[in-house]
Amino acid sequence: MSKPWDETCEHLLRELAPQILGVVARRFRDFVSAEDAVQEALLAAFTQWPQEGIPENPRGWLIQVASRRITDQLRSTIARREREELVAREAETIAPLVGLESDMDPDDTLILLFMCCHPALTSSSAIALTLRAVGGLTTAEIANAFLVPEATMAQRISRAKQNIKASGVPFLMPSSEERAQRLPTVLHVLYLIFNEGYTSSIGPHLQRLDLSREAIRLTRAVRALLPNDGEVLGLLALMLLTDARRSARTGPHDELIPLDQQDRTLWDQAEISEGTRLLTAALSKGSVGMYQLQAAVAAVHDEAARAEDTDWPQILALYELLMRISPSPMVTLNHAIAAAMVHGPAKGLELLKTLDSDNRLAEHYRLDAVRAHLFEKVGNSASAIKHYRIAAAHTTSTPERNYLMSQAARLDQS
């Protein structure tokens, strides 16, 4: 008996997509052709299943359709000798469908991730391809999430696949040495997806996909495959501990609410619990990495019932560690804020001076924003107002610009 189509069916397709892709890519040794074929199979499912109901074996159905697509394509482009070889392989494929299914290797998702996050790809390509091939999202959904036309996103994905094809990377698990080298890129891509989603989007694109949830879902999948990796645990913890605050981040008019003014009763305690548990597990592995440390900072914030209860000395210590193992202008900035909370705003302002000549601070407006905040704490309203407005003039995020303007306005009126 086939099941009727409903909302959970879309979720089912999303879950199955990367699994099907893994099986087919491995069987036919061709990631790019497999990706195309799987997309067509998914489209066929989207059109047929609502009419005919879900097949009893949806996974098998999709594998069969995708496999047929590939062989059809190959058939039209290869010589007769190879064609015979193919027919033999196809017989192998269609007959023991059960056999093919048990071909399913949970590592396939990991292989997919390594392929989609290949260092040869740009971040935006890797993000798009990951969301498609591993996330199972449609091109339209991804385009909508990034506010570009569907055709643009389709091209981006197509280009990414061509780059992978050109690089000649086989659909195989990289060696453990290569994995150690490439995992950071995978985590970075997932982190970027999370960040992109970490904004309550306003405006006409009301049905934007929740990228933060997608990032968490994908990172959970990675964690299931690599349960003992400290940084994977750290990244998942960081995402959960950050996501926990989302309901409190924006006000009724979509305005941004800073951490120290958020209504903490709106924080998601379940996510905080889980995040903290994961973090503890990660730290117990012995090694300490960038995501684990950032998660630790988030955990310290999240455990404070009120802003004034925040354990700033611990946060300062964590940033000092971060400055050693993963230095960056952003870390220095955050370190200065923590130092200001522990040793006074004057100390923070002093530390910021070291960044004035740092060319790497690509988003210089952040420096002005932090400076403004500290000037306010020191009691220098005039300088605070000035720097808030400079920061407002330089940010390219509208909610952020409004926030910075409001801060200046607030001081100007008092």
């Binding site: 036309p149 569907e150 055709a151 306003i202 405006g203 006409p204 008019h253 305005e255 407005r389 407002a392 003039a393 330089h394 940010t395 390219t396 509208t398 409004n402 303007m405 409001s406 200046a408 306005a409 607030r410 100007d412 009126q413």
Partner: protein, 130 residues
């Protein structure tokens, strides 16, 4: 028919805007948001973009070897584009009416800015089909 509605300003104007009070900012944002919602519901909305300020602007020319030459200088009094709306409407009068709505958007103290909005018809040139 596609029209573009252009909102321009000068550096002095933008500096003034950055100094608005909280209340005025909120009121201004609310009006624009309501307009976008209305246009989306009527099916006339195509796109809207806000542009970063002139501090972030660069003027680029191609050098002889094709490499870009950038120049970030923007005279104080020069008018520049702040943002635009792209709408798809039945008549030019409808485009002017929408522009007038934008022009009545509130400024400091809730007084309508009455700023001039430039309205231009867009050449139809669908990029998506290629």
């Amino acid at each position: 028919m596609k029209y573009i509605l252009l909102m321009s300003g000068t550096k002095a104007g933008v500096d003034g805007y950055l100094a608005w009070s909280q209340k005025d900012i909120d009121a201004h944002m609310a009006v624009l948001k309501a307009l976008n919602k209305e246009l989306t519901e009527s099916g006339e909305f195509v796109a809207t973009q806000r542009l970063a300020g002139p501090a972030e602007a660069k003027v680029v020319r191609g050098e002889k070897n094709g490499l870009p030459v950038t120049d970030g200088i923007f005279p104080e009094s020069k008018e520049f584009l702040l943002g635009y709306w792209l709408v798809d409407v039945a008549t030019p009068e409808r485009a002017y009416a929408i522009a007038a709505r934008i022009s009545t958007g509130p400024g400091p103290g809730g007084v309508p800015t009455n700023m001039p909005i430039e309205v231009r018809q867009v050449a139809s040139y669908d990029q998506r089909k290629s």
